[in-house]
Every structure is written in C-alpha cells, then in structure tokens.
C-alpha cells in the first residue's frame, strides 16, 4: 500500500527521508489490527484470482487453448478469429502477451467482469452470479444465524445443567452431528423424510422458489422461498449446531468459574441477569473467532448440499458449470464464493475486535 513510486524524487536526501517517512507510516499502519486484517483479506483475494488465472490460462491443456483449438479444428476458424472468439468469452485477449492478459484479467475482475458463459452464449457470468448468489446467501446465512442462536442457547443450558440427563443427551447429539459429514445428513433427510415417510415432497421443493411464483416482497413469495430453502437450512443447522453447543458449553463453564461471577452472586443479583449480562456476554466472545471458519464451511458445503436438494443457488450452478466444462462460470463462482467468505472473515474479526478490547490492545498478536 505504501507506494514510493508515486513520489517524485528531487534529490537523494529527500528520497531517503521520504522512504523513511513511508516506512514509518507503513509500520504504524501495520501495527493497526484493522489495516493488517484488511491487507490480509486483499492478499487472499489477489492470490486466489491469480490461482484461477493460472488454472484457466497457464496449465497444460488449459481451457482457453482447448477452446481455440476446437474452433480451429472443428469449425475451420483461423487462429486470429478463434482467439478473438475466446477473448469475447474470457475476460482477456489470448492474442496479447501473457503479462498483458494477466493485467486485463485482473482489471476486468476489479470491474466485476467475469467474462461470458461458454454453454449459454451471450450470458455474462456476472448476471448468472447476480441471479443465483442471493439464494445461497439467504439459505446459508439463515442456517448459520439459526444454528448460532440455538447452539449458544443450548450450550448455556447444558453448562447450567451440567451432569444432568439433558446435558448428556445434548452433548452426545452435538458431538454426533458434528462428526457426521453434512452431505450424509442431507442424503438421510431425503431418503427418510422425503421418500420413505413422505413428509416433504422433494420434487416439489426443488429450485429456490416454485415455478409459478413471481419474486417479490409479498408474504406468499417469502413463504414459498422459505419452504424451498427449509431442507438445506435444516441440514446447515443440524450439522453446525453441535460445534456451537460444545464451544458455548466449555466457554460458559470457564466463565462460571471467574471471580466476577462469584462477586455478582455475592451481590445477590438475579440469576437471569447474571446469566445474560455477566456469563453469556463473556462466554460468547470466543465463539466469534469460530464464526468466520463456520461461514466458510457452510458456504463451501453449499456446493454439495444444494446439489442434493436441487436447490438452485451458486453451489448448484458451480457443479453444473463443472460438468459442462463452462470455465468462465466456474472461475467466476469460485471467486465470488471466496470473496464472500473472506468478507465474512473480515467482518467477524472486526466485530470480535470491537467486542473484545483486548484484541485491539494486543494488536491481535495471538491470532
């Protein structure tokens, strides 16, 4: 971020002093937790974008070369025409030198241009993402919120009812659902509740909403969208609630042993107030560091879960693109999922540093 190149040097002395100032500035900025966090996020996005460019353009047998060769051998295109055709799909021109292609690619990404679909000509990848991403964010976001809220409540409950039957039952169930892969839970839901017991009509629940319903902010539409998202959400909740529960339980138990809780009790404060303002607030803090990891896991997991329930979100489209070898879509969706997860990470970290002043004071050095 510190760019000495933009400064016009006049003499050797001023260069040295400018460099020193910039260096000091960089050091001050680096010490700031938030700046460091944002830089790390930017670096992640940059590296992932570079990785996809490498996969799309530089690997032996990469899709751009394959596409150009197919046009030449099957449709009799000249190399020039074929390369122009490819340039229309991918966000760079294969005729240019490699470095220029890379620059164009990054520039296009910065402008939100992910190229065009190979299999459905004329459709931009950006428009596909805009259509399907909201559904994934809706279902995974709701699933995460629900499982976090429920997990925290149940975790506190088990901590307060330690060694009682309810603790043993919930802890065992939590550990069970934490270890079983989420897609297996989804399969079992489809097999038992969908097909065997017939509680849900799996075929009817396909897609993000029913074919006849117009997307709008009406009650019917919201009910329909929730109905279609209910099984993916149930899967996200079931498979992540266990980790929240176990984390909250151990965190609450640790907090209950703190002196300030004993003092609060000695002061004769009401149990409900101690539970929420003294124990709950402090016990919940460590969970925020896990929230970012959970977000990545759930949004990433959507790739399989959406496939199982045929829920038309970004994960479903990603798999379709992979099966049809539609590389621009694949690349665009992978990048947008990464952006979403990186963003969630940054937000969770910033929230955590706001809630827990110790992080800011230490510059987050323990993370």
């Amino acid at each position: 971020m510190a760019r000495p190149a933009t400064v016009e040097p006049t003499s050797a002395h001023s260069v040295a002093s400018t460099a020193a100032t910039l260096g000091r500035l960089a050091l001050i900025l680096w010490r700031s937790y938030i700046v460091r966090r944002l830089l790390k996020a930017a670096l992640t996005i940059y590296l992932v974008s570079t990785l996809t460019f490498f996969l799309i353009r530089l690997m032996p047998g990469n899709p751009v070369d394959v596409y150009i060769n197919t046009l030449i051998s099957q449709y009799g295109f000249s190399y020039q025409d074929a390369a122009n055709q490819a340039a229309a799909l991918f966000a760079f021109n294969p005729n240019e030198p490699l470095l220029a292609q890379y620059r164009d690619y990054l520039q296009a990404l910065a402008h939100g241009d992910f190229g065009k679909s190979i299999t459905s000509p004329g459709t931009t990848v950006t428009s596909i993402i805009a259509t399907y991403l909201p559904w994934t964010l809706f279902s995974t976001g709701l699933g995460l919120l629900l499982s976090f809220a429920l997990g925290v409540l149940l975790g506190m409950l088990t901590a307060y009812r330690r060694e009682r039957p309810i603790d043993h039952l919930l802890t065992a169930l939590g550990s069970f659902f934490q270890s079983v892969p989420n897609y297996l839970v989804a399969i079992v839901i489809v097999v038992f509740f969908g097909v065997r017991l017939g509680w849900f009509s799996i075929a009817e629940m396909r897609g993000a909403y029913s074919p006849g319903v117009q997307p709008s902010l009406s009650v019917t539409f919201i009910k329909d969208a929730l109905y279609h998202a209910s099984l993916p959400i149930a899967t996200y909740v079931l498979t992540t609630i266990g980790s929240w529960l176990l984390l909250m339980k151990s965190s609450t138990i640790a907090t209950l042993g703190e002196d300030f809780v004993t003092v609060a009790r000695a002061r004769g404060l009401k149990d409900g107030r101690i539970m929420s303002a003294y124990v709950g607030r402090n016990a919940i803090l460590p969970l925020f560091t896990q929230a970012a990891i959970a977000a990545g896991f759930v949004v990433g997991g959507a790739v399989v879960i959406e496939q199982i329930f045929q829920y038309q979100g970004i994960g479903y489209i990603l798999l379709q693109a992979i099966n049809q070898r539609d590389y621009p879509i694949m690349q665009g969706i992978f990048l947008i999922i990464t952006f979403a997860v990186v963003l969630a990470n940054v937000l969770a970290d910033l929230l955590y540093s706001r809630l827990d002043p110790r992080i800011r004071a230490m510059g987050g050095s323990q993370r």
Partner: protein
Amino acid sequence: MTTQPELLAMKPPSLGHRLARSFRLGLSVLWQNKVGFLGFLGVLFFIALAIFGPLIAPSSGEPNMAQIYQPPSWSHPLGTDYEGRDVLTQVVRGGRPIILVGALAAILSTLIAITLGALVAYVEGVLDSIVMLITDVVLTIPQLPLLVVLAAFVRLNRPWLLALILALLNWPTLLRAVRAQVLSLKAREYVEAARALDLGLFHILFREILPNMASYILMSFTIGMTGAIYGQVVLYFLGLAPLAGDNWGIMLNLAWTRGAIFYRDSMPYILAPVIAISLLQLSMVTMTRSLEQVFNPRLREG
C-alpha cells in the same frame, strides 16, 4: 512429559522408548474414557477392514440383470445394487481405497504441518510471519469449492494425486495447532537445557520437542484424515473423481444417481455406505476428542 531432575543427568531414553511410553499413556487414558475407547475400537475395526476386506471378498461379483435391487436375504444380507451385485461384498471391499487415500493425505498434511509448524515456532521472526500469513490465506479459501474446481482441471485418476490434492487443502489447521504446541513446549526446562548445551536446531526439534508431541501428532493425523475422507467422498459423490472400482464414495454416487432412493428394497444399498462413512468419521472424532481431553488439561472439566 514429566522431567524429573535426575533424568537430566541420565542418558535420555531412546526415541522408540518414548513413543512406546506416550502410546501406553494414551491407551490407559482411552481405557478410562469409555466413549473414547469405543472410538479407538472402531478405528481398529476399520483398519482391520481396510487390510482384510478385499482379502475376504476378492471380487465384487458379476452384474446380474435378473437380480436388480433385491431385498435383503440370506445370500444377499444387504440386498443387491442397480446391476444385481451383492451390496455387503461392496461394503467389505469398499473401505480400503477410502481409508488408504485418507491416511496418505493425512500423512502428507501432517508432515507439512509438523516440519513447517515446528520450524517456524522455533525460529520465529520473519519466516514465522510469512508462513503464518500463507497459512491464514489458505485457511480462508473455502475448501470444498476449491477442491471441486481443482478436480475439474486435474484428472484425479491416481490415488496419490487425490491424496496430494486433499493434503494441500488440509495442512493449515494442523500447522497452527502444531505451532502453538511447539511454542509452549519451547519454554520448558528440558528444551532450555538442550539449548544451553547447544545441541543444534535439528536435534532439539526432532529429538527433544517432537517426541514429546507424539500424542499430539497422532491427533493431528486423525483430524487430517477425517478432513481428507470428507473431501474425498464429496469428489466421488459428485462424480468428479473417476468411478472405477469399489469404494464407499462410488457406492454412494451410484446408489444416488441410479435411483436407489426410490425403491424400498434398495434402502440398504444407499444406507450402507452412509453408515460406514459416518461410523468411520465418528470413531476417529471420538477417539481424537478424548485424547485431546487428556493432553489438553484445560479441556478436562471437573
């Protein structure tokens, strides 16, 4: 773990001796924790299945179109699949490839995590910052989308290639854990003594610190293996790895795509791999968790 003062004067116990001691300690602890011990027995069972399964059932049988989706019977205890082959035979045979690739991936990711994690924790400074930055970056990339996208570019037709890709996604969490552990072990007296004796980086890391982390390394290994099996089964289930041979992931894929969910008689066909994979993951997680409770006393609750 316990360093009596007189031990310092004596010849240090050999590596094998130390490993055996921490293994015995781990076993005695598992014995006390019933769920953990059950997990340990489960892991032993699956290892045995991986070794002997394909010996018990040398072939998964020929397709028999007259026997499609048969209900469970004496000759086919779990019924038959979409082309009339015995399901139980496939379950018995199907563990080895999954467990083998999982173990291979776990070995690779544990190796990366231990060598790099121990080194940067010991050396600290710029190298530590750089490695931790890379670790954070890789940790943030959503693993499953990366895995399926990579599978679209790389033909995963070799087990070691599959293991390598899975390992490349798995090492960051392990590295963080190893680094934290080495950072705490580094401050112990016996390591300081070794440093005072100027025994050299290699000796201190591999003879003093790592043997005292044997249980920890075992834990990293099983955590890595759970992750690798999770990812591997996804690849088979979504049809992104070649569907050749018998394994639980392929069974899951075929049962799902060939409509086994719609016939009452084919229930065991789809549920068999689901249960096998779940039990494998459950055994490993419960074993690891009870080991964790032992070696991380902060988790032990009264």
